[in-house]
Amino acid sequence: MSIKSIKDQTYYEVLEVSHTATPKEIQRAYEQAKETFDVDSLAIYSLFSEEEVREIKEAIEEAYRILIDEGLRESYDQSHFQTVGALPTEEPSEAQEVSDEKRTSLSFTGLSFNAEGEVYRGKALKQVRERMGVEPQTISKETKISVKTLEWIEEEAFEKLPPLVYLKGFLKSYAQSLGLDPQKVIEEYIRFMEESKNK
């Protein structure tokens, strides 16, 4: 995209998605854009005037309203690009790049955006730990949780795990040592455990 005023940008450019973006990609791009131009966003601090932010936010809402609706999007494409053949050449989509990076290169510390909504069950925790190259013994030393209990947590050996009140404490310490959000890990692990038990 060469430099353009927000008013001159296509809806695809406003949301930084490609012309072939799926509804899921559009949704993600919209959420990302809303976060970027939120009133409390650090990323826009000192760069844009209030008026510019207001204009961009309006453009984001309008672009989303049109592109998320199949019928409206089709009419928009027809009126703006005449025929499918007239669609501009695809450039790598910014939103797609963001999504890919969040899933891959930025996931190695376990702090990354959980783009696929992966549940923090035992297997996921093990995967994060292994990606970090940390042995259970190290976690055990740090958290004072026995290696055996850590293995049970990772192997989802629910019947061997301690009572809930202790388990929550263990999950909290384990999540903190991996740099994950403890609250999220506790909630998702317990939910997954209860669902598995009820099956």
Partner: protein, 324 residues
């Protein structure tokens, strides 16, 4: 000069020169320069770390070595005949240190010819890549060095003050790059005026600037657009503590695209880690002292990306040689 994705100007045969600047004092530029340099050298790339921090050159301290007796000044003032004589060896294989570059950048009369001479001197060193710590300076010499390197890297922490300073640095570099690309003196003056948001011409952003410039000199306006399209600075977010912090990097990238029309490359992030300050206090680089720490892993990931672009660049140069 050719262009590449992660860098800016890429000359034909030379080694990659990365400059680390922008942001604010204390955002971790020297820490990142040292540790990324070590990671690259561990990957088999011959690295020279260059200290050009006007605010306080101390890369040697990060490496745990005493203040060096020789510096670039000794070469410039002809006290030694070859630049490699002022290179300081380190305990890390493939890694050398050059200090004193700040003296040249700091000189009030540092002309562009001197800066280019510095680049040529660095190019002549027997190494594959150079990492230059520019510190938090915002002077014209620092901006020029940032712009003439192969890749400028901004290090920012997820705090308003750090982001504000980074944008200030980026704006200065951006407008300086535009100014250097145009020939008409009236357009040059227009760019100077546009730096001030309260300018009388009502120019609020780069888009307004191009619009007004188009009315003055179509050729210059076109050259400015080309400069914008080929300007790809890199970003490292340091001291992140949460997923939300990591995502600020993506938001900064998006904000830069909307405001400047430039594609910033988000190289990666480094998590906040107590081990970092411990390693600095012990004067032992983190990636050597505690390579398994989370911050070390982040630094390694960033170094791998730079190594990849180094390989791409080498391949690109190889192709060029074959073509000729």
């Amino acid at each position: 000069m050719g262009r590449n994705r992660v860098g800016q100007d890429q000359a034909s045969h030379r080694k990659m020169i990365w400059t680390i600047g922008g942001g604010k004092g204390g955002s971790g530029k020297s820490f990142i320069t040292t540790n990324v340099g070590i990671c690259l050298s561990k990957l088999g790339i011959r690295v020279v770390l260059i200290d050009a921090d006007l605010g306080g050159a101390n890369l040697h301290t990060f490496l745990g070595i005493s203040p060096p007796a020789l510096s670039l000044s000794d070469f410039i003032k002809k006290r030694v005949s070859h630049l490699h004589e002022v290179l300081i060896p380190t305990a890390v294989p493939n890694l050398q240190l050059l200090t004193g570059a700040q003296d040249l950048l700091n000189a009030a009369d540092a002309k562009s010819v001197q800066k280019r001479k510095l680049v040529r001197s660095i190019q002549s060193l027997d190494s594959d890549t150079a990492l230059v710590d520019l510190g938090a300076g915002n002077s014209l010499s620092v901006l020029d060095f940032f712009l003439i390197s192969d890749g400028g890297i901004l290090v920012v922490t997820p705090e308003p003050t750090s982001i504000e300073n980074t944008y200030r640095f980026l704006k200065s570099a951006f407008y300086r790059r535009l100014k250097q690309s145009v020939s008409s003196s009236s357009v040059k003056a227009l760019i100077d005026g546009a730096m001030d948001r309260k300018n009388e011409m009502g120019i609020q952003n780069p888009y307004d600037l191009i619009k007004v410039a188009r009315g003055m000199d179509e050729g210059d306006a076109q050259r400015m657009i080309e400069e914008i399209e080929t300007f790809h600075p890199n970003l490292i977010l340091n001291q992140v503590r949460s997923k939300k912090d990591i995502e600020i990097g993506f938001s900064i990238r998006s904000a830069c695209l909307k405001y400047f029309g430039i594609r910033l490359h988000y190289l990666g992030y480094v998590v906040y880690d107590q081990d970092v300050s411990h390693s600095i206090r012990r004067r032992r680089p983190l990636v050597l002292e505690n390579p398994r720490s989370r911050a070390s892993q982040c630094v390694m990931e960033i170094a791998s990306k730079l190594a990849d672009s180094h390989k791409m660049s080498a391949r690109f140069k190889g192709d060029e040689h074959q073509e000729h």
